[in-house]
Amino acid sequence: MASKKFVALAVVTVVILAGIVGAVIILSTGNQNTAGDLVIMDDRGQNVTIPKYPQRIISLGTSFTEILFAIGADHQVVGVDKTSTYPSGALSKANVGSFYTLNAENVTILEPDCVITWTFATNTISTLEGLGIPVIAYNPTSISDTMRVIESIGNATGKSSAAVNLVNQMQDKVEAVTSKLSGINPEMKPKAYFELRNGKTVGPGALADELISLAGGINIYGSNASKYPQPSTEFIVASNPDVIIVENQSSKTNDDFVEWIGIGSGVNAVDQGKIYRINGALVTACPRVVDALEMFAQWFYPELFT
C-alpha cells in the first residue's frame, strides 16, 4: 500500500514539473498587437500602434474623457468609465464600469480600436492588451504633464490643432497668474493646507501641491513628506496655515475643520475664516486645472486677483 502511494506521489511530482515547464513556456510568449497606421509613445515608454485615427475610443478615467471632449474628439469616443461624468455629454456614452474591476465583456462588445487609461491600472491594461486592444496609458502628475498629454491625445485622435489651441489657452491662464506673482517676497507667501476627500493631504509630487506653489503659496506639507501623507493635527496647528482648502466632495464641513483644529488655537485660517472648498474634479490632470490655479491664487492674494 505504501509503495503504491509513493508511485502516486511520483506521478504527481511529474505533473507539477510538467506544469511548471508549461507555465514557463507561456510566460515567454508575448502579446499580439493589431496592425494600424499610427504609433503613439505612451507614458509607459511603449510604442502603441493605433489606427489613424481611432473612431471607437474607450476612455477609462475622467481626466482623459474631459480632454477628449475638450479637443472635440467626443464623436470618436464610444465608451467611458463610471467616474467620467464631465462634461454632460460623457453621460450619454456607454458606461463600462470601474477601471479597476473592469468586466472585459463590456469593453469588448463596444468593439473599441483604442483604450486610453492611467498607467497604474496595470491589470486592466494587460487584460485588454491580451485581448488584442491597443491601450495608451498616461500618468500626468503636473500641469505641464497635463498639457503634454493633451497634445499627445490630440495627435492620437487627429485633433492636433485643437489640442495645441487648448494648451495655449491653458498656458495663457497660467502666465496670467504667475506673472502677477513675480516679485512677491517669499516671507510674505501664505501658508496653505490642502485636504483630499479621503482625509489625506498632499505632498511633493501631487498635483495640488504644484498648484499651491504656482499660485504663490507654501504647502505646509510641501517638503519632507510623501505624496499623500496622513495629516497630523499637531503639525497643522504648529505650522499655522493661513488658508485651508478642502475638496468639496469631502464629508467634512468647514465647521468640522473649525472644531477639529479648534478656535483660539491661533491658526490663521480658522481665526480669519479662510477655509475654502473646491470641486475635486478641477484638481486633476484635466483642462480645468488652470481654473483651480486661478481659484487658489484668488484665495491666497485676494488683493491681487479679484
Partner: protein, 346 residues
C-alpha cells in the same frame, strides 16, 4: 441471527459514493454550459453553441465567449474546487471545524507578495505574471515559515502550527497595511486584489493554475483514507500503521499548493473553503473518501454560480465575489444546520 454482511454494506457504500461523484461531475458540466449564457452582454444559446464548435459569429461575441467568459468560468471552477478541498483537508488535519484554507496564514503572505508587486512594482518576473508569481511565492514562503516555527524535537504538533499560522498571518497583515499606507493612487488596486474576484481571468492564468491544482488535489485524495484515521488522534494513527509525518506534510504542502494557486490568480476569496466542506459533510457524512472529492466538485459549482451573479447583478459594475459567497453561503448553511439538528457531522 446473522448481522448484515459487511462486504455487501461496503459495496453499497462504494456504489452510492460513485453515484454521488458522477452526479456532481454532470452537474459541473451543466453548470459550465449554463454559465456561458450569463453575463452583462446577452448572447443567445444558439450562438454560444455555434461559437464553441468553431462556427461563424461576430468577433466581439467570439472574444467574449472564448476569451472572457470561458476562461473565467473554468478558472472560477478551479478556484472554487481548490479552496473547498483545501478547506476540507485542513478541517480534517487540524480536527477543527473552524479551519479554512487560510488557517496557516497563506492568504496574508500571498497578499503581501501581491502588494509588493502591485504597489512597489517589485516582482520576480515581468509582464502579466508579475503579481500572481509573487503572491504564489510568498504563499509558499509562509508555509515554510510557519512549519519551521512549529517544528520542535522533530515533531510538528498541529496546535503549534495553528498558533504559528495566526502569528505569521498577523505579521504579514501588518506589512500589507504598511504598503497600503505607502500606496498613493495604487491603493485601490491592492484593495480590490485582496477582496478577491475573477474579473481578470485569462487562459494564461488557467494554464498556470491547472497543473498545480490537479497535482495538489491528487495528492490530497490519495491520502483521504489516512486522513480519516488521523482524525482519531495522531498517536492512535501511528499505532494503526499510518505514516503520520508523511501524510501530514503531504496534506499541508498539497493544500497550500492549491490554495496558493487559487489566491495568486483570484485574490483572497473567503468563505468557500470554510463553508462548502461543512455543507457537504451534512449531505454525505464525514468520511474523507467521499467528503474531499464531493467538496471539490461542489466548490467548483458554487464558485461558478456566485461569480456569474457577482459579474452581472450590478452591471456594468462588478461586485466582489466574496460578498456573494458570504451572503449566499451563510444563510443556507444555517438553514441546513437547523434542519438536521440530530445528525452528528462533527
Amino acid at each position: 441471527m446473522e448481522g448484515p454482511d459487511i462486504g455487501v454494506l461496503h459495496t453499497k457504500k462504494l456504489s452510492l459514493w460513485l453515484l454521488i461523484i458522477t452526479v456532481l461531475i454532470l452537474a459541473l458540466l451543466v453548470t459550465v454550459i449554463l454559465a456561458l449564457m450569463i453575463g452583462p452582454v446577452s448572447i443567445s444559446f444558439g450562438e454560444i453553441l455555434t461559437i464553441l464548435f468553431g462556427g461563424d459569429a461576430s468577433i466581439s461575441h467570439k472574444t467574449i465567449i472564448l476569451n472572457i467568459r470561458l476562461p473565467r468560468i473554468l478558472l472560477g471552477g478551479l478556484v472554487g474546487a481548490s479552496l473547498a478541498i483545501a478547506g476540507a483537508a485542513m478541517q480534517g488535519l487540524f480536527r477543527n471545524p473552524m479551519a479554512s484554507p487560510y488557517v496557516l496564514g497563506i492568504s496574508s503572505g500571498a497578499a503581501f507578495g501581491a502588494s509588493l508587486s502591485i504597489v512597489l512594482g517589485f516582482s520576480i518576473v515581468t509582464g502579466q505574471f508579475a503579481t500572481p508569481v509573487m503572491a504564489f511565492a510568498f504563499a509558499f514562503m509562509t508555509l515554510f515559515l510557519v512549519y519551521s516555527i512549529a517544528k520542535a524535537d522533530g515533531r510538528v504538533p498541529v496546535d503549534t502550527l495553528l498558533l504559528a499560522g495566526i502569528a505569521i498571518a498577523a505579521f504579514f497583515t501588518a506589512l500589507v497595511s504598511f504598503t497600503k499606507y505607502l500606496a498613493g493612487e495604487k491603493l485601490s488596486a491592492i484593495v480590490f486584489w485582496m477582496m478577491g474576484g475573477l474579473w481578470d481571468s485569462r487562459w494564461t492564468f488557467f494554464a498556470f493554475a491547472l497543473p498545480m491544482v490537479v497535482a495538489g488535489t491528487a495528492m490530497i485524495l490519495i491520502f483521504s483514507r489516512d486522513l480519516n484515521v488521523m482524525m482519531i488522534g495522531e498517536d492512535h494513527a501511528v499505532n494503526l500503521g499510518v505514516n503520520v509525518p508523511l501524510v501530514r506534510n503531504t496534506i499541508l504542502v498539497a493544500s497550500s499548493l492549491v490554495t496558493a494557486a487559487a489566491v495568486s490568480v483570484s485574490g483572497v476569496i473567503g468563505f468557500v473553503g470554510l463553508i462548502v466542506p461543512h455543507i457537504m459533510r451534512l449531505f454525505v457524512g464525514p468520511d474523507n473518501r467521499i467528503l474531499l472529492p464531493a467538496s471539490c466538485l461542489v466548490g467548483a459549482i458554487f464558485m461558478i454560480w456566485t461569480d456569474r451573479i457577482a459579474g452581472t447583478i450590478v452591471s456594468p459594475e462588478e461586485l466582489p465575489v466574496g460578498i456573494i459567497t458570504a451572503l449566499l453561503g451563510a444563510p443556507f448553511f444555517l438553514y441546513l444546520l437547523k434542519r438536521r439538528k440530530g445528525v452528528t457531522g462533527w
